[in-house]
């Protein structure tokens, strides 16, 4: 793929535990209006639109029906991917590289507060023959993975708790965040057990919100935008589909996507070449597991890096300065989008008090949550 692709507009509603004053269409419309205003575009000037969504998170059998209106995409080429936002962004990147599309808009949102039986929906993703009949909470798969990951790598529950403390504190600096808090390690360790060693505060809580991002080819981006943010690498992978076949010590999907995204972006030493990383932290241990799988930390050292402050703002490589999913909120298919928005603000140097000084290149990573082994990585840069 030869064509350079840039982000030329972002629209985000901010995140909150509930959002009753707007319907899902109105929520997304709000984000779209902002994104188009930033990009200086009317939706008629956009060649194609992509939504990342899952039917059962919306409460429809075919949610695809309900996506065009709020994007200004009626009677236009629109499609849905049931994937994370960063995967949708990757499809947009590819579409521009076909040479047939110049400008693409990508949308995802969460109305998790409208899912009255969220635990049931999550359990409904479990294999109907081999896992679901156990009737356990879907979080148990995370507990199972966390136990093995900690044992095999030597990372500790305290270090996982440190991730929670860091991210929720980072979120105090993020006006978009829904779950910011000032906590101690002990608060996390003594929170209710979910599926031990996983505890309540180790798991990101859901949030509502919508994100719209506009992508453009190099020529268009330069014409539209003073501060285009370039996608220098983007990749998504699925690892072992069946959970019982996985190696819990590392995240195969993160490792594979990192290899490819780094190759695209010419990154050889992530610690040196990256200025910050937004890593999927839907569960605290996942931040550590992802850091090791991506190659930012060596096996067994991610917890130590966290403990010594290397991943704090001002540290060697700030991780989740946004607050991550733990601090901002878990937004399901929009999760990666929240992190892309943060990266764009950092790279435009518009992140206010949580600005990473002189940020030039950042990594954003997502995972689709239990029971999946699917995730994506994008490398973004302002040069």
């Amino acid at each position: 793929m030869k064509e350079r692709v840039a982000i030329v507009g972002i629209g985000v509603t901010g995140f909150s535990s509930v959002s009753p004053s707007l319907s899902f269409k109105e929520l997304t419309y709000t984000a779209a209006v902002k994104a188009y205003q930033e990009a200086g575009l009317h939706p008629k000037e956009i060649d194609s639109f992509i939504t990342a969504s899952e039917d059962f998170m919306e409460g429809y059998s075919i949610f695809d029906e309900y996506v065009p209106d709020q994007m200004g995409a009626v009677m236009r080429p629109v499609h849905t991917v049931t994937a994370d936002f960063i995967q949708a962004l990757g499809i947009g990147y590819m579409m521009i590289n076909t040479g047939r599309f110049r400008i693409i808009a990508v949308e995802a949102h969460s109305k998790a507060s409208n899912v009255k039986t969220l635990d049931e929906v999550k359990a409904f993703a479990l294999d109907p023959v081999y896992i679901r009949p156990l009737k356990e909470n879907a979080d148990f798969l995370a507990g199972l993975e966390m136990k093995r990951f900690l044992e095999e790598t030597g990372n500790t529950e305290e270090q996982c708790a440190q991730v929670v403390v860091k991210n929720k504190a980072n979120a105090l600096n993020n006006p978009h965040a829904a779950h910011a808090a000032s906590l101690t390690i002990n608060d996390v360790l003594s929170s209710h057990p979910l599926s031990l060693p996983l505890k309540e505060l180790d798991a990101a809580k859901p949030a509502d919100g919508a994100i719209m991002i506009v992508l453009a080819s190099e020529k268009e981006a330069k014409a539209l935008c003073k501060k285009p943010i370039w996608i220098r690498g983007i990749s998504w992978f699925s690892g072992q589909g069946n959970p019982w076949c996985r190696n819990f010590a590392y995240a195969d999907y993160a490792q594979l996507s990192a290899q490819k995204a780094f190759a695209m972006a010419g990154i050889t030493n992530p610690l040196k070449d990256l200025d910050f990383a937004e890593i999927c932290d839907e569960y605290s241990y996942k931040e550590l597991q992802h850091l090791e799988s991506i190659g930012i930390a060596r096996k067994g050292e991610a917890g130590f890096l966290t403990q010594t402050g290397a991943t704090k703002l001002g540290g060697l490589l700030p991780v989740n300065v946004s607050g991550g999913s733990l601090g901002v909120g878990h937004t399901y298919e929009a999760s990666g989008g929240m992190k892309v928005v943060e990266a764009v603000m950092q790279l435009r140097h518009e992140a206010g008090i949580r600005q990473v000084p002189n940020a030039k290149t950042g990594l954003v990573q997502s995972w689709r949550g239990v029971p999946t082994a699917t995730g994506a990585i994008a490398i973004l840069s302002n040069e």
């Binding site: 004053s21 319907s23 409460g59 109907p128 009949p133």
Partner: protein, 167 residues
């Protein structure tokens, strides 16, 4: 390349009965936020009125009420009540329930219709049911009027209109 031998043969009813199976009834329950446009639409139904939205740019009066115009991609300008009468744009006479079970011979047939509502722009219809009418007499172009639930029983739902009948 030849595609003549395709895999998979399917189960007969007897084989299906014999095969091991797992049943699951998920409880997929939602509480969708009405937000602005649909909130006003439902509130209006409770008051016995059908509410539309008006967009100054395309000059459409559209149903159901909405906070933004999807064609012009701009906020709608005002909410306007329309009449509760209209014209049948198309209809069907249905002999099955929503779950594909068959209606009994003595049960009334369902007559879903697209009804273009008077006072809204041309072509602006809603789906509803027709009632108090001989199915054989229903025709495209028929004038119909909403039959409302009593005010005290209305709850802010499309079912506050029981059905539309000829008038």
């Amino acid at each position: 390349m030849k595609i003549d031998n395709v895999p998979m043969k399917g189960l007969s009813s007897e084989e299906y009965e014999k095969a091991l199976k797992i049943t699951w009834k998920p409880n997929l329950h939602y509480t969708w936020d009405n937000g602005i446009g649909i909130g006003k639409y439902l509130q209006s139904l409770k008051e016995g009125k059908i509410l539309a939205s008006y967009c100054e740019k395309c000059e459409r009066i559209m149903l159901p009420a909405r906070a933004f115009c999807e064609m012009c991609f701009r906020p709608t300008d005002k909410y306007v009540p329309v009449k509760d009468t209209g014209t049948v744009n198309t209809f069907a006479i249905c002999h099955v329930n929503w779950d594909a079970s068959r209606l009994k011979p003595d049960e009334p047939r369902h007559i879903p219709a697209v009804i273009e509502i008077d006072g809204a722009s041309s072509g602006q219809g809603i789906m509803h049911l027709l009632g108090n009418v001989d199915p054989a007499k229903v025709h495209i172009g028929m004038k119909v009027k909403a039959v409302w639930k009593p005010a005290t029983e209305r709850e802010g739902s499309i079912t506050d209109i029981l059905f539309f009948e000829p008038y």
